[in-house]
Amino acid sequence: MKRVKAVLGDDPEIAFAERRYKMIGGILEECLTKTETGMTFSDKLDKVLLNKYLGIPIFLILVWALFQFSIEASGVFMVIIETALVTVGAFFGTLLEGNEMATSLVQDGIFGGFAFILPFLAPIFLMFLGIAWLEDSGYFARAAFVMDKLLRKLGVHGKTFIPMMLGFGCNIPAIMACRSIEGEKDRMISILSNPYISCGARLPVYVLFAAAFFPGFEGSVIFSMYMLGLAVAIFTAWLLRKTLFKGEPEPFIMELPIYRVPTLRESVLHMWERGVVFLKKAGTWLFLGAIILWFMSAFGPAGYLGIDPDVSVSYTGILGGLIQPIFAPLGFDWRLGAALIFAFLAKEIAVESLGIIFAVEGDIAIGGALAGVFSPATAAAFMIFILLYIPCVAAVGTIKSETNSWKWTLFSVVYSIIIAYVIAAIAFALLSAIGLGVIGGA
């Protein structure tokens, strides 16, 4: 390989690509008659979108617009879904009248749990629609190209950014997409840095906390969380390159698709393909989670605790109390601690568990209940912890299968907990120092 490099005078991959395109260009020159010379509209757009100075700010504007679109415009649709679920839950509750435990399971456990989670279909679907537009227009490939310049300076492969962008939807296909990265070291770096990219499942937690603690700035707060996730992913990739996977990244060669106006049909189809994963999860994991949560909150060592139980003496309360001392420096009490444990199944379950623990119905009520108990600094620390600590159980399984190593899977889990704790603690301390450490302080 070294000899080939010396003969070609460049990296073999780059040299081969250059010669290939030179040959294609030569053939086209011979068999095509151009009716117009000059830049195409696609080339012109690239001139600006790939600009050395403007490329990254434009990328940030588009991502910000994506989150504003999905968060700020989804409020009314969330209330529509929530109202429908609460009404249906109440109807089924009346059918089971007379059996207290069954009514509690159906009304509070199943429909109550769904009423916390399913309204988030609105921002999730809108976000996926926005991502589909960016992807179908041909811009996403450019985003990877723009970020390559920055990533390469940090010793990270430019292709790493493509799975990162996919991670905004779901980390599992994103981790699997790392297979397309050729070098083993580059591939491992991409897999181990991907879980910090904020997937759609974290969105319900941000929407709930941002609306309750930072009203009027929800879009910007959520955008900051996504950017923090991206920054931690890039930092992790840099750290791995400097320590465990030393060496130069492989060259980044990519064919940029031409720009096109996305069609509504295609975009809706892509939105549906991604969103349906969340729906399926709601019908399986979240349904199972709702039943486990209901059981652990309605029962304790003393047995069934009745309707509107004191959750602090339930199994959930006991579990949360066990880990509470560890999280006390972040301002978390046993309730947030318990939510973190359940969120390991799927991050959205944090919202469901808080709803059951606080014994309220609907996201507006839970938001109010949270704002009355925690400070904005605690809320920010919780959002950061949810963003960075262990991805869901399915993502951990994917890391295991893709790395084929328990050692790297364990490394990923432990490292994520440490980095989540440290960054959440720093954010809590800084926000407390500027007066956001008191309840109702935003």
Binding site: K44, L45, L54, Q68, E72, G75, T83, F223
Partner: protein, 162 residues
């Protein structure tokens, strides 16, 4: 097909003017966001302000390149118009969504003699007015419309080339 084949200088000056307006209003919104000063036309929000400043920068960059004799300067006018259009559409969609919330909160109160239970869920929208979404990103687009028109025209023409 270029956006500005003829009257290049005029369109270049227009691009600069739009850029300056966006930067001025965006800058004011950015500062208002930090000092907590609010006016109905330029509410404070440092991030939204920054977004408008960057859009203004894209428009103005085109003029600078035109002065340097770069023939592709009008790409910046196209992208500036595109970004301005995206932000405009964003606020428009937010206005429509919140308008729906307002309709669900108020219309049943006029129609039914007794307010239905489900209608109470939309109480947050009772006080909503379109002015809440009347952000600079929305009204500023009016100055970017000619640029957006030229871009759209050029793109359509380009598409029709066999």
């Amino acid at each position: 097909m270029a956006v500005a084949d003829k009257n290049g200088t005029g369109i270049g000056l227009y691009s600069l003017a739009v850029g300056l307006v966006y930067m001025l209003v965006g800058g004011a919104q950015f500062v208002n966001g930090f000092i907590g000063y609010e006016t109905w036309i330029v509410p404070g929000d440092w991030f939204q302000g920054l977004v408008l400043v960057i859009i203004g920068l894209v428009f103005s960059w085109g003029y600078v390149l035109m002065r340097k004799g770069d023939h592709e300067w009008d790409s910046y006018l196209s992208i500036g118009s595109l970004l301005a259009g995206i932000i405009f559409m964003l606020y428009l969609f937010m206005m429509l969504a919140n308008g729906l919330g307002w309709a669900l909160a108020t219309v049943p109160r006029w129609v039914f003699p007794e307010v239905p239970d489900w209608c109470l869920s939309f109480e947050d929208w009772l006080e909503w007015t379109p002015m809440e979404q009347f952000q600079p990103g929305l009204w500023l687009f009016s100055v970017a419309i000619p640029g957006a028109y030229l871009t759209l025209k050029a793109h359509m023409w380009n598409k029709s080339v066999p």
